[in-house]
Symmetry: D2
Subunit: 348 residues, 4 copies
Amino acid sequence: MKLRVGILGATGMVGQRFIEQLNDHPWFSVEALLASKRSAGSRYSDVAKWYLESRIPSDIAEMTVEGMDPRIADGLDIVFSAIPSDIAKEVEGGFAEHVPVFSNTSTYRMEEDIPLMIPEVNPDHFKLVEAQREKRGWNGFIVTNPNCTTIGFIIPLKPILDSFGVSWVHVSTMQALSGAGYAGVPSMAILDNVIPFIKNEEEKVEVEALKLLGKLRQNRIEFADFYVFSSCHRVMVRDGHTEAVFVQTDEDFELEDIKKALSSFRGEPQRLGLPSAPENPVIVMEEEDRPQPVLDRGLGGGMSVSVGRIRKKRERLLKFVCLSHNTVRGAAGASVLNAELARARKLI
Amino acid sequence: MKLRVGILGATGMVGQRFIEQLNDHPWFSVEALLASKRSAGSRYSDVAKWYLESRIPSDIAEMTVEGMDPRIADGLDIVFSAIPSDIAKEVEGGFAEHVPVFSNTSTYRMEEDIPLMIPEVNPDHFKLVEAQREKRGWNGFIVTNPNCTTIGFIIPLKPILDSFGVSWVHVSTMQALSGAGYAGVPSMAILDNVIPFIKNEEEKVEVEALKLLGKLRQNRIEFADFYVFSSCHRVMVRDGHTEAVFVQTDEDFELEDIKKALSSFRGEPQRLGLPSAPENPVIVMEEEDRPQPVLDRGLGGGMSVSVGRIRKKRERLLKFVCLSHNTVRGAAGASVLNAELARARKLI
Amino acid sequence: MKLRVGILGATGMVGQRFIEQLNDHPWFSVEALLASKRSAGSRYSDVAKWYLESRIPSDIAEMTVEGMDPRIADGLDIVFSAIPSDIAKEVEGGFAEHVPVFSNTSTYRMEEDIPLMIPEVNPDHFKLVEAQREKRGWNGFIVTNPNCTTIGFIIPLKPILDSFGVSWVHVSTMQALSGAGYAGVPSMAILDNVIPFIKNEEEKVEVEALKLLGKLRQNRIEFADFYVFSSCHRVMVRDGHTEAVFVQTDEDFELEDIKKALSSFRGEPQRLGLPSAPENPVIVMEEEDRPQPVLDRGLGGGMSVSVGRIRKKRERLLKFVCLSHNTVRGAAGASVLNAELARARKLI
Amino acid sequence: MKLRVGILGATGMVGQRFIEQLNDHPWFSVEALLASKRSAGSRYSDVAKWYLESRIPSDIAEMTVEGMDPRIADGLDIVFSAIPSDIAKEVEGGFAEHVPVFSNTSTYRMEEDIPLMIPEVNPDHFKLVEAQREKRGWNGFIVTNPNCTTIGFIIPLKPILDSFGVSWVHVSTMQALSGAGYAGVPSMAILDNVIPFIKNEEEKVEVEALKLLGKLRQNRIEFADFYVFSSCHRVMVRDGHTEAVFVQTDEDFELEDIKKALSSFRGEPQRLGLPSAPENPVIVMEEEDRPQPVLDRGLGGGMSVSVGRIRKKRERLLKFVCLSHNTVRGAAGASVLNAELARARKLI
């Protein structure tokens, strides 16, 4: 018996990625497509313009979209959410009273009792859920995944942190258009251009990183004590965030040891063999001109982070370029992997 | 009487920018278009496919291209060079025996007795010319300008260095296609993509910066003693390099003081009123989403560097984004400004 | 004394082109910037994000935007309009009660008593204005210019029609993004793509052409009696519509005669020396790979149409590719040229 | 036992598509990768930069590239060719002495005894092979497929021709970058641009169409007696040629009958169930804004042609927009389907 899944914000770009990720999923079955009142009552394929190169699954196309009414939760085992942050407080909270919610929205990420999770990085943060339920009196709970930009560099940073410690990180991003939603970036704005600004992005990146790599101590996350400084830019790329990452480690390293730490990195999803877990969370590329979005964003089904251009400038000073698929590993796939981990741990 | 000018590599992309910069120049007049044997003897407009949005000057179009024979130098007062680095050693050297050469090519940049110059930054390095002539026995000399990427961040770095000192710089670039020459980047390589590699670029950026900001001591440049670490990327932009620059200063600063130092920065070209000197070498932009290549690369006739997104993360830690026109301020315009400075100082 | 001009829809993309076209205009002076209530009362530069590569004129930047209230018309001599078609009926009509309106909006174009004009093509259609005023009781009047796509191929078609007659036209377009307005085409929609649909465009092209080339008979336009069949496509180009035009003429032709007819074509704007009139309304290009948007859209200050790839397949069967700047010759410049013609004819 | 296959020009863009199409093919097995002397002797993955989003098959990556020596043909059952046209005369001819050659190169296409084939359109032209062998004394033979642009509109034209006859065709194309080879179109040439010229393309399109739709009469192809007039343009699209096709039919039609003829069209590949045959050679799209390259080029595994925007202007006058994947249906897939047909007919 598969778990019955609902998708909040099913018509948008990340909503479509949820549908794609959950198509033929061994554990989960999409039973409810939830969207704004404007779409409720209509056939999914009539209101959701399908943006992806994959075909829309034919059974999904025929489903009727429903409004985001928490009473629907009763027939569901899990809800995934990709709704705008300004309505998430109420809607996600409403559903969480009834059912576990795995959210890609930023609203709850930084709340004290809400896990902000990447299964390969901080699976133990899941434990916050107990305190959360108790405090909030929910039958369900909320688990969030980080911003698409954060996730891209935190995954490779984790094995470096574990082996050498991290003093600080400077990250400069070249982000894909899909991160802004389908109509988020006008073509007139980005043709022959770079836009050195993404609303709230630098703030999110700099703080989420520290919670993700923080330590769980008695139902509280003690934030990591290094700092992250970021510069976020939009470029003319459909999918795939490229990030140049400068890292000062605590201890000195050999480049080969960094590469080994990255290549051999495995997390709990790999150990548990979760359905959406890539074989390699991090793929190290030795070619001088990789990773590249158009060639590498699909690696590991969009769930691997590619790392290249690894250089050492001086003692303890490292630079690499990483690439991750922002709407798969950085959004829908991230939430699905969180749910798979929860399932494997019998939390749902 | 205008000085008679020859252009080495006149048919290429930077060669065309030289022609554009020198069109109706008050001091210089283009008298010789020099290129490879393949083009020599042909009408310029027959062998040079004009790439620029401006029209090709009609008198230039009708000129006959000549081979790169140093004997031509006798009829010339100045030579500008935009030839490939692998032939520059011999060709530029050959011309320099007869006439001053202002070169955009990398070949001679790091040689001890060759000035690597940005007139706003290190005009005193011109003095190397005397020793150069003596050592090499040339009637002319060679003066070089830096790589297009270096020039973009060094100009705003200069007033910061002067006011607060610099401990290190991390720079991540998003570079325009024209930097690779007209046919340098295939469209298949860059459409929907970022390429995290430009041959030799990171090496050039990291070393040229230190010579440029070095101190002249008894006919030698003592390199600046901070370090630069760079990550260079190609993006889908025609002209204009965007660079995210993280700087650790020696002394702490207020953001407003940084902005003031940048805005009020003037160099010798401004004081002398050189024809190609922009009124403001650095333009500070307060809008949250600027600078942008498509909107700002033409500021100051392509000779101003735009700076925005200025942030302070913690004590002594600064970040900004700068934009400069890579084939104007970063190439042809840079050489022309060097020549104008030489002229104003009566060195030619 | 310059005529006092108001611009309806001053903050949008075509509104900005109006400002650019009218900057330092010898006859017209912009006195009122009119826009929706949302913008009224604000400083122009605060509400209009300036999209053009040219700088915003500094005096315009400081002006206060006003609402689109026809009472403002009393202080004005001319109004230019670039407002959405759904509000134009009332707004343009309201202003026309007081003052001549030169409109780029489609709303009134096909009304019987409204001139649809290209000064080089059908200047005599201006005479409709008298009947229009009488019928509508307006002190002012409305003169419209065609859709940006129509204008591009009608200008070169006119001398062909005059010399050889036209039986039919098949036109397939590759249209620029700016034609849809700044936010009209999401980057996700057009990156690595062609969209074979522009709302209402094929309909407009096919009917406007026949009115433009129609004959004025006793205050009525008798439509031209050939037909136009079109296929309209959006491509990844900022400005400049490229159109492949297949024409069956009535009489056979030599290619050289076609080229001569195009090159030597002059209209009333050229004879009168109107300020915005290009020297050559049509520029014939012999190079095998021209015209191209990025290189040729700016010819004649954006007011010339470039024509190339002229081929004859068989008797009476012609093909050419034409290019015109869609927001200059195809929009703001078109309206301004209409107004200049009216002024030269003492109609205003 | 699978047939042993060699690929001439295996390192290029179409060569890679051959490898992709033949990966896990039920009938064919790639045994030889043939390329220029420069690559011969090297490991495939060392000399062929893999351009496709799919991964390079690991066994192919390890193979050693061989020179294009016809003696290799002895160990092969079929050769596919994607070599430059200037060397094809000799190389393909040399191989055809020994083995059947299925070529995507233009060199032999228009020779009288060489079949130019699309299996859904003119499978009977295969019979030319007998006369070809006899005349040339070859043990093998050459079968060609058309230019990528031709194939796109000829497939939908075939059922229209069969049902209503065709008097003429005007076709205006918007072609993908990959058609020019990986380095064929510089990014500086096409960014923010359309290029209205592709060398020899219009000539090929206009003549190949008539051979393809010609009738086989006593070992000769009698060309179809309508005419094709074309205008070919390059646009900023990776893969997928979009074509606007105006057709005058011989007999009048109802739009619904055209749609039915297109949708229900099946050819011999479909009847025989050939491995690469798409279920629907033509897919009719009713959405007003389709087909689009980024969304539809992959339909039918890249082997279906999508048709939309079907309009009737007047009696017998039809317009549609078609889209086909230029390096799959228009190149490698076309050759492979030809070979499959030959195999099914026991010709190899």
